[in-house]
Symmetry: C2
Subunit: 228 residues, 2 copies
């Protein structure tokens, strides 16, 4: 009756193999670089067959990316859990923070993994693709939260994109500074920059949208870009 031993043992076994694989891969990749490591080496270190590797990961990139992967769901969950009255900039900052905190805070080699990703073009590419999925999820959540129609309104997509831009920029700094800079401060500063756009209200998408931006620069106006 393995109906409730937390997890069905078969699943725990599966998790075990996955962890072993991830561990071996991360260790090798961090030491020798991404393309200097073959899958054969990884499976040798992990003690499974190559075929099994591909039953757990779709590609060599996936071993690394999946490691940071639940974060997408975490971010969305955090956003969904924020109080409804919170302005977007604050809710999104908290959402993004759960991921940044996991990367920087989690004392183990999480930072090293980020550096590996950011410094390896194929990994970066996959990571950005994953982020695009996160963005869609956040946008959906935002649209629901603010009762905006994602079909006509550009705001949800843009707001989610801006938040993830901040996310990426913070990770970049963290990586470049080798963890020396403070993640929380960086996050605050980044969101201070994008907040004016995140928290500007209405944006009525009507046909005559001639409005003035809330910019303090006293310049930028809406004007057609037309045939320049």
């Amino acid at each position: 009756m393995p109906l409730r031993p937390e997890l069905s043992l078969a699943q725990r076994k599966r998790q075990l193999v996955s962890d072993e694989l991830t561990g071996a891969a991360l260790k090798l990749l961090a030491r020798k670089g991404f393309d200097a490591v073959t899958i054969d080496e990884i499976v040798l270190a992990a003690g499974v067959s190559k075929r099994t590797f591909f039953r757990y990961f779709a590609s060599k990139e996936d071993v690394v990316i999946q490691f940071l992967s639940e974060m997408g769901a975490s971010m969305r969950a955090e956003l969904a859990g924020r109080p409804a009255h919170e302005p977007p900039s604050v809710a999104l900052r908290h959402a993004v923070w759960v991921s940044i905190d996991a990367c920087a805070g989690h004392a183990d080699g999480a930072l090293r993994v980020v550096q590996l990703i950011l410094g390896t073009p194929p990994l970066l590419a996959r990571f950005l693709e994953r982020q695009a999925q996160w963005r869609d999820g956040l946008a959906q959540e935002l649209a629901h939260r603010l009762e905006r129609d994602p079909e006509t309104d550009l705001y949800p997509q843009l707001a989610a994109g801006m938040a993830l831009t901040a996310y990426g920029t913070v990770l970049q700094r963290l990586s470049d500074s080798d963890g020396a800079e403070d993640p929380a401060t960086l996050t605050d500063r980044a969101f201070a920059v994008i907040a004016p756009a995140l928290d500007t209200p209405v944006q009525a998408p009507g046909p005559s949208r001639a409005r003035v931006s809330s910019s303090a620069a006293g310049e930028a106006r809406i004007s057609r870009v037309a045939e320049t």
Copy 2:
């Protein structure tokens, strides 16, 4: 004396082969989908050897990506050419526009290529990676333009990132609507959303940055995210 016949003939020959390859590849990929087409098919259609293909493109993805590739340089050049007094939101909008215009306006299958990229994960990944490079270029240009120090100031990276977020969102809409929506209008609307952040001045990165966002929501404040 081939010292000035426009281009050295050898280079024109090279361009010819490249075009042939690109044309054959794009035609096949658009019809059969990305991974249903092998390089052997492409080189057969183009009439060159497989080995030659890889002398022109680093990978199958590159055939498609390089097609939209000069755009990065174009965007940066446009930004560099905008009058210095122009607020960032306007200058960036014009910069991004040169690429959007090329995608949507250029009557040939440019839109089809965009749809192919956006609908094919590996291509999307490479495309986003390329965009990240563009972003660094734009950020550098912005930093120079506004005399901000890219080492300490997050604004250049974030502003460039926001502009490219707008870019990507517009492309997405264009792709989804099959070109039905007006590119110029979409671009204007997208930049209307992000402009408040782009054109907000100072952002002094001093140690005590407790400031109020310019939000009209009358809410969003800067507060430490800290240990939530």
